[in-house]
């Protein structure tokens, strides 16, 4: 029994870790701006494409940092162009702007790549296959959860122990008061996007090492699921997003294993609706903001 489940469990942990990395970007941005950053999933995809093209022309030691830098630059640019001008606008306008940005990114990717699926480069070491308790899988599956834990620990330290982390906490607690206290809110928001997109870039490397092809719209689904993970864990809470990501990844993989692939997406959204109806603040969410 366990031997049958194990491969799915492993795959679930792996994909869950990747969702977790994307979900952190959502949860941090939502925590501060109260905005569902619909473009986040597309930034994740852009990161995949950048890696495809970078790896074709330069060695991996260069292409990996380049991918991360370009992804971060794009996320900061998106924030500057699409969200900053609307800072005082109603929340709906910012959300529409995010949807428009997602549309723009998808169409641009389609144009630039010709719309054909691209083969993701094979990353050495993490793409090797290994044996875990009798079932063979690629090393990325095993590495992902550990990498996620390390990155999240670093992020939590950053938020709890550094000055910019304190500014981020202040901004997410009360935007206007934080400004009055002399926090440069625009810098804090840019930094949030930097962290979120950095994690999305790492997540995209792990994700596409598993899935091998990149298409312009591939990021939409993992993006939405990662958002569900963020809501599930309690929006604004980083450990919550991580645990939410893992739970969704594992459940989804087990459902696929049971032969109900059609329902794996449906399950994620059903979970969202259940959690919103039962405990709208999520598992670890604070009870501060009114959401329902």
């Amino acid at each position: 029994m366990l031997e049958q489940i194990l491969p799915y469990l492993l795959a679930g942990v792996s994909v869950g870790g990747q969702y977790a990395l994307i979900a952190i970007g959502y949860t941090m941005v939502y925590g501060i701006l109260r905005l569902i950053n619909f473009a986040h999933g597309d930034i994740f995809t852009v990161s995949g494409f950048v890696m495809v093209y970078a790896a074709a022309t330069m060695p991996l030691t260069l292409s990996i940092p380049l991918t991360i830098v370009l992804t971060v630059a794009l996320a900061v640019l998106v924030e500057k162009v699409a969200y900053r001008p609307l800072r005082t606008a109603p929340r709906m306008s910012v959300m529409i702007s995010a949807i428009g940005m997602s549309y723009l990114l998808q169409n641009s990717m389609w144009y630039l790549t010709g719309g054909l699926p691209k083969q993701y480069p094979v990353l050495p070491w993490i793409s090797d296959s290994v044996n875990v308790a009798g079932s063979s899988t690629s090393r990325v599956t095993v590495v992902t959860p550990f990498l996620v834990v390390v990155l999240v620990a670093g992020l939590v330290l950053l938020i709890k122990r550094t000055k910019i982390g304190m500014a981020m906490r202040a901004a997410s607690r009360d935007f206007e008061t934080a400004q009055l206290m002399g926090i440069k809110i625009n810098n804090v928001i840019s930094f949030t996007f930097v962290v979120g997109s950095f994690l999305a870039a790492v997540g995209s490397m792990l994700y596409f090492s598993n899935y091998a092809t990149v298409t312009p719209t591939i990021g939409a689904m993992p993006g939405l699921k990662a958002f569900v993970a963020a809501v599930f864990g309690g929006i604004g809470s980083i450990p919550g997003a991580v645990i939410g990501g893992f739970i969704i990844g594992i459940c989804e993989s087990l459902i696929k294993g049971a032969g109900l692939t059609t329902f794996s997406d449906a399950f994620t959204f059903a979970l969202l609706i259940v959690i919103l109806a039962v405990k709208p603040t999520g598992l670890f969410g604070e009870n501060l903001t009114e959401k329902v």
């Binding site: 529409i96 723009l104 010709g114 809501v231 059609t262 997406d265 609706i273 709208p280 959401k291 329902v292």
Partner: protein, 451 residues
């Protein structure tokens, strides 16, 4: 009490509607040399999108419920319609993978056989209403848990429901009815309508969409509509005035989904086939962008926005997708001059807006100099673009750069972003076409009184 003046208005509105329908029929029947077939496509698809945009506007613009489930309800409508109307003779080939699949009857076929064109029309109307009812019924159930949520949580939950509907429809177990993830085709479409030799292909979507939009407009102007607007403007105040929030929200949600279902069914008729994979979240986003372009809270805005959107994406921007090689040097000079003029106009408008909004970015270096970076950046970009223009003019290359498959959508989405960022009110704001006339008249009256 209905005033005499209102009768007059109704007559004018009816006359205009009749004139539009006759015009559309005439356009449909002119030889294809005179009327490009693209125009007819745009008119048909535009009418269908107009209905779904209006239905979304009813929810987002008039009731203030930010829902992103429109594609799911369209899918329900499209499938309901298609399943009900696939002709019996073709069910075996449509449901190839599910032997014995299909309903074994077809509403439009049986009515069409017994009563001819009138029967066909009645059958289609019946099936459209059923399609709307199925979507509305689902909306009622979905609304139970979802409508308690607010703003972006509501948006994401409805988006989730649309995705759930999409994946459940593709479920193998439902195959004998929905044909799983395969196409449904062969059902009654708009092109089946004719009156003798007279084609009514384009008139039908106008008729159905027009009638539905009329109902929505009447609803918006009724007491229910005023209650919706009150909820949009201030929920607490609306409740204090005795409006039952839950009931009115549910009503708006169900009615909006009903019309989304009808428009989904019409989209199926237009495309002559349906497949669940087409009804993705991207479709909802497109409809939302139409609503934004037209103006949130304006029915005529949504209608205009939809024709504009469909026209641009299907027709007017098509040339951007084709690789073009200019014929000779003089054509190139013309192209470059046009481009330079375009750049000048865009930058000019940009500078005007920057100045008017007075949004100065003050940059303090050690010397405490205030620099206005906006115009500087705009001018630098303009200089770059013009430089490239001149370079292209001087080079021997005659092939237009950038133009290839997909460029249309990039340009299109950039335009949409500009609308979203700088013209947040859209074409109409929250005004209607008839409001504009009234405003002008009242302005005139005021000017007259001033004298």
């Amino acid at each position: 009490m209905i005033k005499k003046k209102d009768y007059k208005k109704t007559w004018i509105a009816l006359l205009i509607a009749a004139a539009i329908l006759i015009l559309v029929v005439v356009l449909d029947n002119l030889p294809s040399k005179v009327v490009p077939s693209m125009l007819l496509t745009v008119l048909q698809k535009g009418a269908i999108y107009a209905l779904v945009a209006v239905s979304m506007n009813l929810l987002n613009g008039f009731t203030g419920l930010f829902s992103l489930g429109q594609a799911g309800f369209m899918l329900l409508g499209a499938y309901t319609y298609a399943v009900l109307t696939v002709p019996v003779a073709r069910q075996a080939s449509v449901y190839q993978r599910y032997p014995g699949g299909g309903l074994g009857f077809s509403v439009t076929e049986s009515l069409g056989n017994s009563m001819g064109q009138l029967g066909l029309f009645l059958g289609v109307v019946l099936c459209l209403i059923l399609a709307g009812c199925v979507a509305g019924l689902f909306a009622w159930f979905i609304g139970l848990p979802v409508l308690k949520l607010k703003s972006d949580y509501l948006a994401i939950a409805t988006l989730g429901f649309a995705e759930i509907i999409r994946s459940v429809v593709q479920y193998e177990g439902l195959g004998p009815v929905t044909n799983g993830s395969n196409l449904l085709y062969g059902f009654t479409g708009f092109s089946d309508f004719h009156m003798g030799e007279l084609k009514l292909t384009t008139m039908m979507p106008f008729l159905f969409a027009g009638a539905s939009i009329l109902i929505v407009v009447l609803l918006i102007n009724s007491t229910y509509g005023r209650a919706f607007k009150a909820i949009r403007d201030d929920e607490v105040a609306a409740e204090a005035m005795g409006i039952n929030l839950a009931r009115h929200k549910r009503m708006s949600f169900v009615i909006s989904s009903f019309f989304a279902g009808i428009s989904g069914a019409m989209l199926a008729m237009f495309q002559a086939s349906v497949q669940a994979t087409a009804f993705k979240a991207a479709m909802t986003y497109e409809i939302l962008l139409i609503v934004v372009i037209g103006g949130i809270g304006s029915v005529t805005g949504s209608v205009l926005g939809s024709f504009l959107f469909v026209g641009c994406s299907e027709w007017w921007l098509r040339f951007l997708d084709n690789e073009t090689i200019l014929k000779n040097f003089s054509a190139k000079v013309q192209f470059c001059a046009l481009l330079a003029a375009l750049i000048a106009v865009v930058v000019g408008f940009g500078l005007l807006r920057l100045k008017r909004s007075g949004r100065k970015i003050i940059f303090r270096s050690g010397k405490r100099i205030a620099v206005d970076w906006g115009p500087v950046l705009a001018l630098a970009l303009a200089a770059l673009a013009l430089g490239w223009d001149v370079w292209f003019l001087l080079s021997s290359n005659l092939k237009l750069p950038l133009l290839r498959s997909g460029f249309r959508m990039v340009v299109f989405s950039v335009v949409i972003m500009i609308v979203v960022l700088f013209f947040r009110k859209g074409i109409m704001g929250d005004q209607e076409l008839w409001d504009l006339r009234r405003k002008r008249r009242s302005a005139k009256a005021k000017a007259g009184a001033g004298k």
